[in-house]
């Protein structure tokens, strides 16, 4: 349990400049989740952040630590912990899939025999077992995505960077990819960073979300906590106008209430109180409940709120 709370990624005033342009502006955060989503519009700095953590860009100020290893002082150790699935097509056209994954696993430090065995396993795992001897250049887009995932996991990393993992996939292939990511996450052997502009992908795969905007952290939330909070938040509609006694009785249960017009009522349930009790009170007060919804503050709401500029515009 203590391991769960140890930070996966610590951003410590991380700043990255390309010439005069500041791309990442002193990011500071401590990410502890099993699966962390990285969201943001184009140009927000998502890819730059991943590339900096991988050591492709040198920070101009600050630093970051991955599983306790400093990216400035121990870049080699950091990269030995990571599996990386890049956004763009990345392969060697003339090579067969399994040979390519084996090469990558060997470069990560696996001995020849183990690398070959794990390359085969990884290919079967991502559903490409039957085509593993075909040249990568002949793969479809979905197969290339899966092959990229295979090379990212073959060496058994502790942290997996997935940059737009469902890019260009058709719906069945996307579902399969999401399923794979969730399966890897649920095994609990490694941490995931999923960078995507698709909110649905992040919502389905991640338990923490870091939202970037213009190189700064616009929002950081724990989706699991948000979901839990949402479960306590109800929107109710009764027949006719609200009955004052009914509202009082609900308050008597420890609920917070906010009456609206036309019989509408917003209710925040206290911990431990079941929704059934509301129905019981309604029956006792002779109030007919016509609608009762859990309010769902979706990731889209969180994202849009984070994207709102100071003047309220997106």
């Amino acid at each position: 349990m203590a391991q769960e709370l140890a930070p996966v990624i610590e951003l410590d005033g991380l700043e990255v400049r390309f010439g005069d342009r500041v791309i990442l502006k002193g990011l500071a955060a401590s990410l502890t989740g099993r699966s962390i989503g990285l969201l943001g519009p184009n140009g927000a700095g998502k890819s730059t952040l991943l590339n900096t953590l991988l050591g492709f860009h040198r920070p101009s100020a600050g630093t970051a630590r991955i599983l306790g290893r400093d990216i400035r002082r121990e870049p080699r150790a950091v990269r030995s912990l990571i599996g990386y699935m890049p956004e763009n097509d990345s392969f060697i056209a003339g090579m067969s899939g399994v040979r390519f994954v084996r090469l990558m696993a060997e470069l990560a430090g696996l001995p020849k025999a183990e690398a070959l065995e794990r390359a085969h396993e990884a290919f079967f795992y991502v559903g490409l077992g039957e085509v593993r001897y075909r040249a990568l250049g002949t793969y479809s887009l979905g197969m290339k995505q899966a092959a990229k995932l295979a090379q990212a996991i073959a060496h058994g990393p502790k942290l997996l960077f997935l940059d737009e993992p469902t890019n260009g996939l058709d719906p069945p292939a996307r579902l399969r990819m999401i399923q794979l990511i969730r399966e890897i996450r649920d095994r609990g052997d490694l941490h995931l960073i999923v960078s995507s502009h698709l909110l649905r992908d992040v919502e389905e795969c991640c338990d923490e979300v870091l939202i970037l905007k213009d190189g700064v952290i616009a929002a950081f939330c724990n989706l699991e906590e948000e979901r839990r909070a949402n479960k306590r938040f109800l929107e109710m509609e009764t027949r006719g106008e609200l009955n004052g006694n009914f509202v009082e009785a609900i308050r008597g249960l420890g609920c917070e209430t906010a009456p609206g017009v036309q019989g509408r009522l917003k209710v925040v349930l206290p911990e431990g109180l079941e929704v059934r009790r509301l129905y019981e009170i309604a029956a006792a007060q002779d109030v007919q409940i016509r609608r009762l919804n859990h309010r769902r503050d979706s990731l889209e709401d969180i994202f849009l709120k984070a994207m709102e500029a100071a003047d309220g515009r997106l």
């Binding site: 492709f56 990269r79 030995s80 990386y84 890049p86 763009n88 097509d89 430090g109 696996l110 183990e114």
Partner: protein
């Protein structure tokens, strides 16, 4: 358990040493080269000239062999001296240029053309290690073509002539070794830099020849138009040849170079200019590699 039934699992086994990972890329490259029949045949053919040289050395010291074919006194036709070994190095180096033009661009351009660099460099594998690994493929092949047969022939001659000959001609051995290394490093750097820059194997191969033949023609035009010798600075084989002559003979040369690497008589430039010219070329290649061999392109 059958491989297709296995699911994802972390790797907890032993890892290879850092130096061992440097050998991974060359091993894969040699497996690929072995499958290319033309290159294999070309590589084998490149040993014909050293084989002929070995026969000449052996015949030189076997009067009975000459008398068998009624060629008494033929040993005086070819002398085993600086020119003999310079010619060997020159011929083999030119073969090396062809091999580097065929093999070199295929090392880097496929990685760059398909964005595979980010995958290499996302592992505990640095840019310098990547370049060294890729260079080592050419270094091994070109070594086998140049200084290795050169030193073997030097050893054969020393064995047959007597070890005092080896001591008297030690400069030839060092010239073979270091002269070949200059050429090998230059070719390897150039092949990788050009293929990194153009990302297209065929074009990079053609550019290799362009650097040697078109630039030397350009230098000759400058010499002709401006009536100077400084145009030779664009002639890479001239620069290498003049350095070789110094390495083989020191400050009192009796020859003006070897096949393909000869400086026209009376048109020599100061030796330091050759060193500077070669160094500048190597630095340009390193700069090109430093710009292109990156995990992620930076758009400023």
């Amino acid at each position: 358990m059958a491989v297709y039934k296995k699911t994802y699992q972390p790797y907890e086994g032993a890892l290879t040493a850092r130096w061992a990972r440097l050998l991974v890329i060359p091993r894969y490259a040699f497996e690929d080269l072995h499958r290319r029949r033309f290159l294999s045949i070309f590589f084998v053919c490149s040993f014909i000239y050293p084989l002929i040289c070995a026969v000449i050395i052996w015949v030189q010291h076997n009067a009975s062999a000459l008398s068998l074919i009624n060629a008494q006194g033929a040993e005086h036709l070819i002398s085993i001296n600086v020119v003999f070994f310079l010619s060997l190095l020159g011929w083999q180096s030119m073969m090396g240029l062809f091999l580097a033009a065929f093999v070199g661009p295929g090392q880097v351009s496929p990685d760059l053309a398909n964005n595979a660099l980010s995958l290499y460099l996302a592992r505990p594998f640095s840019r310098a290690e990547y370049v060294l690994s890729k260079m080592s493929v050419l270094v091994i092949l070109l070594s086998l073509m140049t200084w290795v047969p050169g030193l073997l022939l030097f050893g054969l001659e020393s064995y047959l002539e007597g070890w005092s000959w080896a001591v008297d001609h030690a400069r030839i051995a060092s010239g073979l070794f270091f002269g070949a290394w200059i050429w090998i490093l230059l070719l390897a750097l150039l092949a990788l830099a050009l293929s990194a820059w153009v990302k297209w194997r065929a074009a990079a191969g053609a550019l290799m020849f362009g650097v040697f033949f078109v630039l030397s023609a350009f230098g000759a035009v400058i010499n002709g138009v401006v009536r100077t010798n400084w145009g030779h600075l664009f002639n890479v084989s001239y620069l290498v040849g003049s350095v070789w002559v110094w390495m083989f003979e020191g400050g009192q040369p009796t020859t003006n170079g070897a096949v393909f690497f000869r400086a026209p008589r009376g048109e020599t430039l100061p030796l330091w200019t050759s060193w500077v010219g070669l160094s500048v070329l190597a630095l340009i290649c390193l700069y090109m590699l430093a710009r292109k061999i990156r995990g992620a392109e930076v758009v400023r």
